[in-house]
Assembly symmetry: C2
């Protein structure tokens, strides 16, 4: 600490992202990226962009990118907000909707950035317990809060709530903003975007970093009724006028428009997930039924941290959450069939 | 407004960036971009980047980019912070250093995003008046504040403070963070980075959007002693782990390393500024002596807003600040010699 810091800086406990090791070429199953590269149309869009224009500021509204998202979901342009990764969209959302008098509620096992945002903006966080099987009981969520956020499927549990449960949640808490964080929705779930016009309190947040294969270009978005999007625009325009760069705008637009490639990538991930699930079970893991591009798996006869370390030693990187309610589990991203075979081979040797 | 917004959202008055018209091809002298495109080495870096890696998250620390900045200024890596444009760096800096008990001080004519950040983070702003010739009297700045920020050269006045004046400021306010916002420093000024190791309270902020010709890729940075940079890292890692995308990292690194091209662009801008200054004076403008890539010019016999509108009608876009202490002036970005000639020709017809 330092005398020059604001008080709040001393209280921050920053989020720790999954390792991005630069020193060794791992089979990288720790950050839930897409195993398949971006669409050829993305490369084409980058190649065709007049680079001389990089001297110019981007369109501050990123209109073309927002329009491509609106088109895909058949929404209006003023129902779409974009940010520099869904983490930025989440941060602005906490500020715009949750900086109120009462706490904000989220599951006790969830995306570990939520408590960090709450802390950053001095918002009281109230966790609700997921059940023993990691499922969420909608009825158990407190009314004594000013907002709710949950990922669907949840991360890192991979548990999925059907849309009728989301509707129930939105109805029970119709006077608060409910954010459904759909980072992993395209791997088998059904998006709540279809409920946006019906529920004025619903904000859906998605990312280009998983199903759209563009983690490296940092694009996230939110879809909600215009009054919610306006709040995000006001915060964004008080923070950074141009969060999305020129290449990200054209690349993101191309990624959104190549629906066939997107669907084919998701389908392959789903198939590989099913294969991996079976293999892990036959190796003595208990696996949560996943609708995401990762599997939460518990080695029944081994220490999870030791398996994580042994895998790392053997060139396979998975994610392990120490000091948590899931410290008996490993979170394993679904990569190509080849790489998942390498995981299974490594586990066969280790166990 | 909406019942779902946080109270703070209602109080926000977002920053309004210069127009980026999409409908007509203007001679665009309104946003102080560089007239010259990025270095060829930037194009080369983008072309040589393995686009398949766009599926991966960037290095959250953007180490290569930060190292290239550290190398240029002969600083340590831990003295460099990067963000998604200098606007993001400024926002984090307000949060990290100015969210205290006392107000923060800045000039009454300055970058109009400062009061917006202050408002966003509920920081009281205390303006100090620039003199009639727009110069800043260091001695006039109140001690009753918890921090000071000023651009050098100031924007939109273009007035420059010599380094001995910056030293005086840092010494007078040695117990507060002083931010010198050097967006325009490379067009004739001397950077205060040379004072960083001497003054623990100094943070210098710069951007790639002006002298580095990369407004379209959104990169800004701060240089200060490690204890200040650590505060920014803590805020950044509580907000967005990966603010700089993969292509921006490699392109920014290449831009920083091509020193010869950078210097040649700045030199041409300076020469064209001198030419434009003379031409404007002979057309009856009073021009502030500029060390930036723009000129603040007052039409002595005409209404400034009318000249702005007439120029726009004639396909030349400059910046006009209505309802301000400089509403008698136009801010004119320095572009290529050809485009400045178009401005002078248009003015000759109009006046």
């Amino acid at each position: 600490m330092s005398q020059f810091w604001s008080d709040i800086v001393n209280t921050l406990t920053p989020y720790v992202p999954g390792e991005q090791p630069q020193n060794r070429d791992y089979v990288k199953l720790n950050t839930n990226e897409n195993p398949f590269g971006p669409s050829e149309k993305v490369f084409h869009a980058i190649d065709n962009f007049d680079r001389n224009l990089l001297k110019r500021y981007p369109d501050p509204e990123a209109t073309k990118l927002r329009q491509s998202i609106a088109d895909y979901y058949q929404m209006d342009l003023n129902q779409v907000f974009v940010g520099n990764g869904s983490d930025e969209v989440l941060a602005h959302s906490f500020f715009a909707f949750f900086k109120k008098n009462k706490p904000i509620a989220f599951p006790d096992i969830t995306y570990s950035f939520y408590p960090v945002y709450a802390n950053l903006y001095n918002i009281e966080a109230r966790e609700f317990a997921v059940k023993d099987d990691f499922s969420i009981d909608i009825q158990s969520i407190t009314q004594d809060c000013d907002g709710i956020i949950l990922p669907n499927p949840n991360a890192p549990t991979s548990r999925y709530l059907e849309l009728d449960k989301i509707k129930e949640l939105l109805t029970l808490h119709s006077n608060k903003v409910v954010i459904v964080d759909e980072a992993y929705i395209d791997f088998g779930g059904e998006s709540a975007v279809s409920l946006v016009n019906e529920f004025e309190n619903l904000l859906v947040i998605q990312t280009f970093s998983k199903s759209r294969s563009l983690a490296g270009l940092r694009i996230g978005f939110a879809i909600g009724q215009a009054h919610l999007i306006e709040a995000l625009q006001r915060v964004k325009n008080s923070f950074n006028s141009y969060p999305i760069d020129q290449l990200a705008i054209v690349a993101g637009q191309a990624a959104m428009q190549d629906v066939a490639y997107f669907k084919s990538c998701c389908e392959q991930v789903i198939q590989t997930r099913q294969w991996t699930h079976k293999q892990l079970e036959s190796l003595g893991f208990e696996c949560i039924e996943s609708k995401a591009n990762f599997i939460l798996a518990k080695p029944l006869k081994h220490d999870a941290e030791k398996v994580y370390l042994d895998l790392k030693e053997n060139g396979v990187l998975v994610r392990y959450f120490k000091n948590s309610k899931i410290s008996d589990y490993l979170r394993i991203s679904i990569d190509t069939q080849d790489n998942m075979k390498k995981l299974i081979d490594a586990l066969t040797v280790i166990l």
